[in-house]
């Protein structure tokens, strides 16, 4: 939990006939961080494998078909869990056949549904246009004209004058029936049949959109409209029946389609993956990082599918020259319990820890919840946050991690609500199990200062562990290392004693003074001392002209770090400040509620104001407290020990799907 998963680098050699089965095991296994062949010397020598392009294209087509079917049936696309082994070369026929069968069964209904929907759309457009016409316009009186040509339609209103001018040389009548949407007007144009061509040309130029009056349409417009409405009602009924049939098909084939889709994606992924493998003669080479504890299981599984013809090589990272020289980075695979793992995202926002340093997510999560709860302590509002988180967790799959974080923050806020005796800002309903912030301000400040000292100390301890793990021994004697930590702890101890008891003995101060002086000298001289004592360099080599500059640098570092220690610790007072502002906001809300209820003369307005105030506080304070907590974590805590620069473990399936991970620089 405090360090990332221990990894080993493996190389698998598989004969060509077993590559599909092996890739299938790897994609099912997921926990392989693939090293692309083009990032290795072998790849640069041209030993990259290729994939079967036509088979890949076939799977692309099948995926489109499956998606189209699922979309037409309104079936969900994702969610299937594949348990069977997929061999692309074999699967392509089965999937194609099954998709064809499903399509054959549903096609007639879906086509009928689509064409009926299109008819409905057209009828609605016609209805919309006919409703623009006067209801008493009688088409039967217009039909059968032997010498007269007429048209009804829509034309841009500002173009009517030009339309008139373009028809001015022929006999015509242009009647504006009324306005329509988008700055257009409904117009009725009459003319002689012999001038029909001129009319056509003029109407074309005027962007005239005719309302089509079919020869079978007769009677008054209102009758036509009524008939259309009745037809539309009939089509609606038909669509409802067809939609019901589609829903039955969805129930019947929905899950199978999801499964087929998953098979296609897996097969496609397996084929794509081969581009990242190496190939020498008839054998494929797969290289990557894998959790060491899983090596046996993976080797057994691949050995089984490759009928014992696969060869494995497992190397400990420490044995790799490229790793020792820092040319190759070992990826980080977080290894946290379910309730802590959502915080990995927040850790990742600061940086990715390197393989050897402490994986800080667990510390981050626990201290985050502690700080959030202290600042947002309210049993009622905490419960609201919990419920909100639960809703996100259950309904919004994509944001599940944030839902968990919100639920945990809610629990923490609720616990502190009980400790402070606050529920929705009311302090009379619950007894305070610890203290009420507004009544014990100075005590609260002392608590938060103590918390600050504890967190800074934890950061210093983690920094010492990182320095030892990364063999940065020289730093142990520096201001940010052991020497600085001891200085901080002695000073912090004395400060705490002064805060709690109000006095520090002169002897203690004297001892502190001497110890601080010795430690400061050690810090300033830590570089030459390290070279003399640990590296055993000759004094003549250590005492060189550059030494003065080195010492000056150490002095500056010392003062910089001492100021940081103080600033980092004092910064935690904000925890008390925001908790108090949380309580102060409630005082404001209750005051407003009192004024409002006095003016309105009723209790309902009082409670409405309190409810609105609570919503505002949850949103506003929730945001502010989250930002402050993250700030304290990143700057006061992570800043003490976090080195970063690591590379995140990328499971093989995501690596293949992304396809565009930036290449590692060539050594």
């Amino acid at each position: 939990m405090f360090r990332s998963e221990k990894l080993a680098r493996i190389t698998i050699q598989v004969p060509e006939p077993f590559i599909s089965a092996t890739t299938g095991v790897l994609t099912r296994f997921k926990l392989l961080h693939l090293i692309r062949i083009d990032e290795t010397p072998l790849g640069r020598l041209g030993y990259g494998a290729e994939t079967d392009g036509s088979l890949l294209a076939e799977f692309e087509n099948l995926l489109h078909e499956a998606d189209a079917l699922a979309e037409a049936l309104h079936a969900p696309l994702d969610g299937a869990v594949l348990r069977d082994e997929v061999i692309p070369e074999k699967e392509v026929f089965k999937v194609r056949e099954r998709l064809g069968e499903i399509r054959g069964e549903v096609e007639a209904t879906l086509d009928d549904l689509e064409s009926t929907a299109e008819i409905l759309r057209e009828k609605k457009i016609r209805l919309e246009k006919f409703t623009l016409l006067p209801g008493d316009l009688d088409f039967s009186r217009l039909s059968g004209r032997r010498f007269v040509n007429w048209k009804i339609g829509l034309t841009p209103t500002q173009g009517i004058e030009k339309l008139e001018e373009s028809l001015s040389e022929v006999h015509h009548a242009l009647i504006e029936l009324g306005p329509a949407a988008q700055e257009r007007s409904v117009v009725f144009v009459f003319g002689l049949l012999k001038d029909a061509t001129i009319f056509e040309r003029a109407l074309k130029g005027a962007f005239f959109e005719a309302i089509e009056i079919r020869p079978d349409v007769s009677g008054k417009v209102e009758d036509v409209v009524a008939a259309l409405q009745s037809e539309i009602a009939g089509i609606d009924t038909k669509i409802a029946a067809l939609s019901g049939q589609r829903d039955i098909f969805r129930g019947k084939f929905g899950e199978e389609l999801q499964l087929l889709r998953e098979k296609i994606i897996t097969a496609r992924r397996m084929l794509s993956a081969r581009r990242y493998f190496g190939k020498i003669d008839k054998r494929f080479l797969i290289t990557g990082w894998i959790p060491e504890r899983l090596f046996g299981q993976l080797a057994e599984e691949i050995g089984r599918v490759a009928e014992g013809q696969a060869l494995f090589e497992k190397v400990d990272p420490e044995d790799l020259r490229e790793v020792r020289e820092g040319v190759v980075k070992i990826p980080i695979l977080f290894n946290n319990p379910l309730l802590i793992s959502p915080f990995e995202k927040l850790t990742g926002l600061y940086g990715t820890p390197s393989y050897k340093e402490v994986e800080p997510t667990v510390f981050f999560a626990l201290t985050f919840l502690l700080l959030f709860g202290m600042m947002f302590g309210d049993a009622g509002q905490g419960a609201v946050l919990f419920l909100l988180g639960y809703y996100i967790f259950r309904r919004l799959y994509k944001y599940m991690d944030y839902g968990i974080i919100l639920m945990e923050c809610g629990v923490s806020a609720t616990l502190f609500g009980f400790l402070y005796g606050t529920v929705f800002g009311m302090e009379t309903l619950l007894p305070a199990l610890w203290f009420r912030p507004m009544e014990s301000i100075s005590y609260f400040v002392k608590v938060t200062l103590s918390l600050g000292i504890a967190m800074v100390s934890l950061g210093l301890i983690l920094n010492l562990i990182n320095a030892i793990r990364l063999k940065e021994y020289e730093k142990l004697l520096s201001a940010s290392g052991f020497a600085g930590a001891v200085l901080y702890w002695i000073a912090a101890g004395l400060a705490m004693k002064r805060l709690l008891t109000g006095a520090v003995a002169p002897g203690e101060l004297r001892i502190f003074g001497w110890t601080a002086a010795v430690l400061m000298i050690v810090i300033v001289l830590h570089r030459p001392l390290y070279r003399l004592i640990v590296k055993r360099e000759r004094p003549a080599r250590v005492i060189q002209p550059g030494l003065a500059g080195e010492l000056m640098e150490s002095v500056v570092e010392l003062f910089d770090d001492l100021i940081r220690f103080i600033a980092n610790t004092v910064s935690f007072i904000r925890v008390a400040a925001f908790a108090l502002s949380h309580a102060a906001l409630f005082i404001a809300v209750f005051s407003i509620a009192n004024v409002v209820s006095h003016q309105q003369g009723g209790g309902a307005s009082y409670w409405l104001t309190v409810a609105i105030g609570n919503v505002v506080i949850i949103l506003l304070e929730g945001l502010v407290v989250s930002i402050q907590t993250v700030r304290l974590e990143y700057y006061e805590f992570f800043g003490k020990f976090f080195r970063g620069g690591g590379e995140r473990f990328q499971p093989i399936d995501r690596e293949i799907d992304s396809g565009d991970r930036p290449r590692a620089p060539r050594p």
């Binding site: 001018e165 373009s166 988008q182 001129i198 003029a202 074309k204 005027a206 959109e209």
Partner: protein, 352 residues
């Protein structure tokens, strides 16, 4: 009057100085003897176009690449005058740019219609930058023309394109959409005049009215005698708001079967201006010549109004348009001497 002097003194001085930097008759005499695009570029490298042309990366650029660079220089002038002009005057100058947005929009629609790739279409667009509010990226990413038109809802083109959409569907041709885009651009420029007041509005109305008359006449010649459209159709494409040409005049002109009938149908001063035209092809250059004369008049009348920077921008546009015509002719292998009769470069000597 005093407030006009205060508001326009800077921009009129700037426009005058910029007019002084237009190509000289000597420049044009040399340019009209050039035999290759490279030679034209070399000569223009010694003029104020040097900076804009230096951005061309291609070793042997074609006329279209050079055209974009020349327009960059024009847009640079727009930027300078927009900064210098008072708010209301700047608004009308800004509206003139909608014609280049219209050109870009037509290019985008053509790209969608012809299924061109995004980079291919993007390379043809005028580089208006922050002078344009056209949602270019969204249109480039849209699936088809009706969807692209939906994206134009906040622009002046949306309504006109929506009107033309049924005709586009019926004809299966981009022509109705292109006409709609051009008409919308002109209508947008004209509607901007309403914001001006007093002398500013009067003089700008005359200038914009002249320009609309010229657009109508050149469209009429193009549609009737080069595209062979019917008079009834052409009349419907007429843009309202001209200076001297009303709907009746233009209707009569559109119905004219030959050049003398056209001239007879036109009112003064267009009848006199086009009198020397012996053939349809000469009409655009004669119209340009007449317009240039009128634009130059702005420089020796009351200078403290928007007409002066407007006139300069029209002159500069004609210069750029003429250079692009010259480059296209050279690229097509036409003898440049024959162009002398067909193009009318606006030189700083004209109107002095």
């Amino acid at each position: 009057m005093i407030s006009r002097v205060l508001r326009y003194s800077y921009v009129q001085a700037k426009a005058r100085a910029m007019k002084g930097a237009l190509l000289t008759p000597e420049d044009w005499r040399i340019l009209l003897r050039m035999k290759s695009v490279g030679e034209v570029l070399t000569h223009l490298g010694g003029t104020r176009y040097a900076e804009a042309l230096s951005s061309i990366q291609a070793p042997a650029p074609g006329a279209s690449t050079v055209s974009l660079a020349l327009h960059d220089d024009l847009f640079g002038d727009y930027r300078k005058l927009l900064k210098a002009a008072p708010a209301k005057g700047a608004a009308i100058l800004q509206r003139l740019l909608v014609r280049y947005e219209a050109e870009n929009l037509k290019t985008l629609l053509r790209g969608l219609w012809q299924g061109k790739s995004v980079p291919e279409t993007a390379a043809l667009l005028y580089r208006l930058g922050n002078l344009s509010r056209l949602p270019v990226d969204a249109i480039l990413g849209s699936r088809d023309i009706p969807n692209a038109i939906k994206l134009l809802a906040p622009t002046p083109f949306h309504t006109a394109l929506s009107h033309a959409l049924p005709r586009f569907r019926a004809q299966g041709s981009l022509f109705p959409l292109e006409v709609a885009v051009d008409s919308a651009a002109v209508a947008h420029v004209r509607s901007g005049l309403r914001r001006l007041g007093g002398a500013d509005r009067k003089s700008a109305e005359v200038l914009i009215g002249m320009w609309i008359d010229l657009v109508n006449l050149s469209w009429m010649v193009r549609f009737r005698h080069f595209y062979d459209l019917s008079p009834e159709e052409v009349i419907n494409y007429i843009l309202p708001g001209g200076w001297k040409l009303g709907l009746r005049d233009l209707g009569a002109a559109a119905r004219a079967g030959d050049l003398p009938s056209l001239l007879a149908a036109l009112p003064s001063p267009y009848r006199e201006a086009l009198q020397p035209a012996g053939q349809w092809e000469r009409i655009p250059s004669l119209l340009d010549e007449w317009f240039i004369r009128n634009l130059c008049k702005a420089f020796y009348r009351d200078p403290f109004q928007v007409r002066l920077p407007l006139s300069y921008l029209f002159l500069k546009e004609i210069e750029v348009k003429t250079l692009v015509s010259l480059l296209s002719a050279i690229e097509l292998g036409e003898p440049t001497e024959s162009l002398a009769d067909r193009i009318r470069p606006p030189t700083k000597a004209v109107g002095r």
